[in-house]
Amino acid sequence: MTPTIVLPLMVGGLYAAGVYLLLDRSLTRVLLGFVLLGNATNLLLLSTGGPAGLAPILGYSDPDEINDPLPQVLILTAIVITFGVSAFVLAIIHRSWRLVREEVVGTDEEDRRVAARRATDADELDPDELAPDDRIAGHADSLPRNAEELADDVDLPAGSARR
């Protein structure tokens, strides 16, 4: 059997394209690059089994003519691992996208500050003269509780102002 030139060319091309995509800033392209690199590596493993041969099934083909089954086993394992990792990276990409551009309208930072300012501007009082419960965070001892009250007032994400 003659050695094939197709596999090395495929492996080289996939590696080149994969590395190019891996260097991109966009995460989706990074993932595509990883998938290409994974496939290139699998083909590389396949080509380590030597020249092509018959399917390695006992009783079906002559043991002298079969292909080396071990690289195929390794590829199978590698495919499973690559698949799992790809799924995880996809989830991370989704999460990252959610964090950067939330489709649900979140709390407006600036609006929250304006709301807080109006509350204080309305009554120009010395915090010391107010009843403890009305004080803003003017005193260190009122800090932790105030954070909680604030969380109720300005509708912060749940659980972010614990204790």
């Binding site: 891996l22 590596t41 690289p71 390794l74 990792v85 991370i92 965070a137 972010s160």
Partner: protein, 562 residues
Amino acid sequence: MIEALAPLPVLLPLLGAAGALLASGHPVFQRLLSTAVLTAVLGVSVALLLVADAEGATAVSVGGWPVPLGIVLVVDRLSALMLVVASTVALGVLVFAIGQGAADGQEETPLSIFHPTFLVLVAGVGNAFLAGDLFNLYVGFEILLMASYVLLTLGGTAARIRGGITYIVVSLTSSLVFLAAIGLVYAATGTVNMAQLAVRLDELPAGVQVLLQSMLLIAFGIKAAVFPLSAWLPDSYPTAPAPVTAVFAGLLTKVGVYAIIRTQTLLFPDGALDDLLMWAALATMVVGILGAVAQSDLRRMLSFTLVSHIGYMVFGIALGTAAGLAGAVFYVAHHIAIQTTLFLVAGLVERQGGTTSVNRLGGLARRSPLLAVLFFVPAMNLAGIPPLSGFIGKLGLLQAGVAEGSALAFALVGGGVVTSLLTLLAVARVWTRAFWRPPGQAPAEDTAAAAAADATARRRPDGDDGAGSTADEPRTALQEAWRRHTAVATAAEPDLPPPAGAVRALRPLPRTMVGATAALVALTVALTGLAGPLYGLTSRAAADLLDRTPYTTSVFGTEEVP
């Protein structure tokens, strides 16, 4: 007996992970289960170490397949010692995490996911240590990496996703390089069994050997964070929850170091790339520690010292002598314990002080003397102050370097001493600022308010320094009140690391967390007391590694390797 015990460090955590996942609705049962599993793994590992030290290396064929066909697990002195140290710190970190979870609730560290993933991580580490063929080593790496991806991005906050992506892409690349290297090794030799490779690789042309060796070294060098492949580590580790960073710092890089030790001694004993490794070790030590000195954040500083001290181990491996390897193995054991402990202490500091920035911390020694002791002892150990184990490990490596006697080895000895001194400088700065200076001299007495104000300052590009403004700028009480008011409102953002701690700055530290940290500090001190027997053990392990026949004989049962 060893045939029955050897697979347990992999099997028990995997089964435990399944159980913990099923029990995710019952937190108490889940905690008991994972603690019991890790305790059992520790017991098994100790038994394996005792047997391996008494009887030498043993190989176990998994599933009863004959040797070159099936997968073998090899227990020798090196892998058993690594198992013992790894399972000890894993148990300590687990108890710490349970304490933290009990105190914090589920938002920041969702424990129902944490327990199964942590156990899978331990299984992967165990599999990597025991693997007797290259592909099984790869599978072990993938198991632990997969678990580490989940742990690093736990909770899915913006900072963790950002740091996690760096880590994941770098790890994926290293895994692909490793897999391609396995393919090439198989093409060249027709086997992936390491004992068989030890013989067959010797027969290859020198050029092919160097190619395979450098591919494996690149793959493991990324995982072990050897300069210039180390830039990812300080970027991704500090964002994770404290127990996760601790176990990563202790175990993951050391698995890479273990793989380098194994391949360098068993597969490529010629030392063709030893000079290159020497230069890499020197650069890792010096560049890493210069980075550490420049940091003002405790966790980032510790991440850089982690990179830097990997250089010591690579130095010992590159020497290739029995003394060098013994020192390297000792240093790995010491460093797993010490680095994990320090990251756990950093977690405690963050709880107590509300931040890990040494510029804003102050007076911790007075406020919490116990925490001060817990930081001081391992910090001095890391810097290598006699008589602690860090000093013994460094001394052993430097002696091995002097004994080797080449100019490059002497350069590394000098680099090692400088690194040790700079480590002392870095930890001493943390000590004087965060612990020793009186609280009044810290930029702000009220750490909680300062941290919150700083969070506001960071939000505004033109924001003035939060600490200064609380002290001396002329403001009306009302302005001041509003400032703090908004500061607290912003501080409640879940994405900013310090404020979450800032709000709970004045709470006492949970006993379980302090207890776990104290136990690990005691372990690092015990390593000093037990340094004599331990060094004897690592010397015997190094002799085995250089001899190579104990390993191959254990796998094939005879001196002859097919």
